[in-house]
């Protein structure tokens, strides 16, 4: 996966709590057997009407957010189904960073395995970012080396990401290759471990 050290991009505000992975990518698109091409179906039921036409009343369809690469959302972002198609769709659509007050565990993991940086910030700061991005075109810089989010003027916030996923993202490591360096430990463990 591509390493992510620092990212500057346009912010798309999604002021909703409990955005679930069924919303991020509905099940009718999970039948494909490749990892690519899911971006077109992102938030499908919000972005398209019954006749599969783009809805003008859903904010992500506005030209203003066309090049957005940072999504700011509400608490418990990515709850529900474990489908990794959700981060695949976000990534394919162009999102590199998701900022929210809290994330569902499986979704959070899935992001870090796909080069998407999930950033947790307090609710008050999220509300400020959402307001800024709703009123104007708004850019943020997210710096994973310094654990900081800044805008072009006065906003600055620190965030914390556990060291393991942080290093994975910074270095773009293939996790399986890392684990396979411990093969002998796994083999030793298997020799004394019983599975009925």
């Amino acid at each position: 996966m591509e390493p992510i050290k620092q990212h500057t991009g346009l912010v798309y505000p999604l002021n909703r709590t409990n955005v679930d992975t069924d919303q991020i990518i509905p099940k009718q698109f999970l039948k494909r057997i490749s990892r690519q091409g899911f971006g077109q179906y992102l938030f499908y039921n919000w972005r398209y009407d019954e006749k599969d036409n783009l809805r003008s009343d859903f904010s992500l369809n506005s030209p203003k957010y066309k090049t957005a690469s940072i999504l700011v959302g509400g608490e418990n972002f990515g709850c529900g189904s474990s489908r990794e198609h959700a981060p695949w769709a976000l990534e394919d659509f162009g999102f590199k960073v998701i900022i929210a007050p809290s994330f569902a565990d499986i979704f959070f993991n899935n992001c870090t395995k796909n080069g998407i940086l999930p950033v947790v910030l307090p609710e008050t700061e999220i509300q400020q970012l959402i307001k800024n991005a709703e009123t104007d075109t708004y850019q943020l810089t997210v710096d994973l080396e310094a654990n900081k989010v800044t805008d072009l003027t006065s906003f600055e916030a620190s965030f914390h990401l556990a060291e393991y996923p942080r290093q994975m993202l910074l270095n773009g490591w293939d996790e399986i290759s890392v684990t396979l360096t411990h093969q002998d430990k796994i083999a030793t463990f298997e020799r004394k471990h019983t599975v009925y």
């Binding site: 039921n45 709850c79 399986i176 430990k185």
Partner: protein, 467 residues
């Protein structure tokens, strides 16, 4: 005596391959369950890097999400068919056992694991599916993973995990007649919200949990993820042991006796400490019905639909308004006055033999309301066969329910079992998210008994007075 430990700590210590301070541990996986939707990209990843499946014997695959529940020999949807064929090819190529279409053990992955005895106390179990928490009912540490992690487990039989925090959910008190395990878990999520379990592994304790059958414990553990917890479990006891005895993949003879001893010793010790504890009194619970678009938006059957103007804060107010609008509901009306058009009895939450028996027991010679389409989808071929041996299929069919082939079906509507836009379904599944059962479909989560009663009445009714 050594420090008292929770079952979660005991399983953890048993399965950690190695651990360095401040880093996640490498945890050994004892059972990896696989289905057609979240595995193709993982097998493809192995192929691209010339890797193999480390322990095919600890891996077991089935087909459930995509499968048709009528005419199972013809799969009309080409894309679905390709996904199922891909799983078959992958299993053949990598030597993974498969209960695919036409196999006598095919069924929903979380139904077949337990019924085949693959699911056992103390095992670490993963699957590319968030409802893997179901297997926790046996005192297993079972959680859902993404496809990258599926690939990782296939290749290494391990996963990197941070030591989980423990949450004790203590349910005491006597459950009333007509009130079920489903109502316990819905009431719990209604009380504490959809993310009180995030970052934790839940252990369900208390005398109300002890009295439950294995099927009922599975219903509760199944929905741990709806509380945000990746895993939820119940310490094993005699009920667990009795359920497993004689199952296809359970140990036999003296090995069973040895396993039984180990299983019972895994139970949390008296005085073990948890990071956090919440409680619920089972005697205060009434049958539950969700009214909104997440499982915490749930009320007792005798309550009225909430009014956004009485919400605690602006965020909640907005969430209630959005949910009412999507659900096409008015505030302040009794939930029992809401008519329904569909009933779905099935899913990994409530499609086991006992669930179907309970639902059938409500029927009492009555017929499905003329405005309602009701389907019953057994969780597995085994459940279907057992139910038919007991004549349940006839009871349902005579009342006007459709009796289908096993699969996930209308729980996520990936096959043809879809609730049409704007229509309303009483469902025994676990998620009432927007669009879950079909684009703009409206889902109300209930117990099997409540679903059967709603099918007969044409609207929600309190099953306790519906005799």
């Amino acid at each position: 005596m050594t420090n008292p430990k929770t079952i979660i700590e005991k399983i953890w210590e048993k399965n950690v391959v190695f651990e360095e301070p401040g880093k996640p541990a490498l945890l050994y996986i004892d059972l990896h369950l696989v289905h057609e939707v979240t595995s193709p990209q993982a097998f493809e990843g192995l192929r691209m890097k010339n890797r193999t499946v480390r322990q095919p014997k600890l891996t077991f695959a089935t087909m459930d999400h995509n499968v048709p529940t009528v005419h199972t020999n013809i799969i009309k949807d080409e894309v679905s068919k390709l996904q199922m064929d891909t799983l078959k090819q992958n299993c053949e190529e990598f030597g993974v056992p498969l209960a695919g279409m036409g196999h006598k053990h095919q069924g929903i992955v979380h139904v077949i694991g337990p019924e085949l005895g693959l699911t056992q106390p103390g095992k670490t179990i993963v699957c590319g599916d968030s409802h893997t928490s179901t297997h926790g009912a046996f005192g297993a540490l079972a959680f859902g993973i993404g496809t990258s992690e599926v690939e990782h487990v296939l290749a290494t039989q391990t996963i990197w995990q941070a030591r989980p925090k423990t949450l004790n959910v203590k349910v005491d008190g006597q459950l009333g007649t007509g009130v079920t395990a489903k109502d316990i878990i819905l009431a719990l999520i209604a009380k504490y919200g959809v993310n009180f379990g995030t970052g934790y592994v839940i252990e369900y304790t208390g005398n109300a949990i002890r009295k439950l059958s294995m099927e009922e414990r599975m219903t509760i553990c199944n929905m741990s993820i709806e509380a945000g917890a990746r895993a939820g479990l119940v310490s094993p006891d005699q009920t667990t042991v009795d359920f497993l005895k004689g199952r296809k993949y359970a140990p036999e003879g003296t090995l069973f006796e040895q396993a039984k001893q180990e299983w019972l010793e895994l139970a949390s010790d008296q005085g073990a400490e948890y990071n956090h504890t919440v409680t619920l009194n089972a005697s205060e619970i009434a049958p539950q019905v969700t009214w909104g678009t997440n499982p915490s938006q749930c009320i007792s059957v005798n309550d009225k639909i909430p009014n956004p103007n009485t919400a605690k804060n602006a965020g909640d107010q907005q969430a209630i308004e959005q949910a009412l609008q999507y659900m096409g509901l008015e505030a302040d009306i009794p939930i029992t006055s809401v008519p329904i058009e569909h009933v779905f009895i099935g899913s990994c939450t409530n499609s086991r033999l006992r669930d179907l028996e309970q639902a059938a027991s409500v029927i009492n010679g009555r017929k499905v309301n003329e405005n309602v389409t009701a389907i019953v989808v057994p969780g597995s071929q085994t459940v279907k066969l057992q139910a038919e041996e007991k004549g349940l299929d006839k009871v349902f069919i005579e009342a006007g329910f459709e009796w289908r082939e096993p699969g996930c079906s209308m729980c996520l509507a990936m096959n043809d079992d879809i609730v049409p836009a704007g229509e309303r379904c009483a469902s025994t599944s676990n998620r009432n998210f927007e669009g879950r059962q079909g684009t703009n479909a409206r889902t109300h989560l209930v117990s099997p008994e409540m679903a059967a009663a709603a099918a007969l009445a044409g609207h929600f009714v309190d099953v306790r007075s519906f005799v």
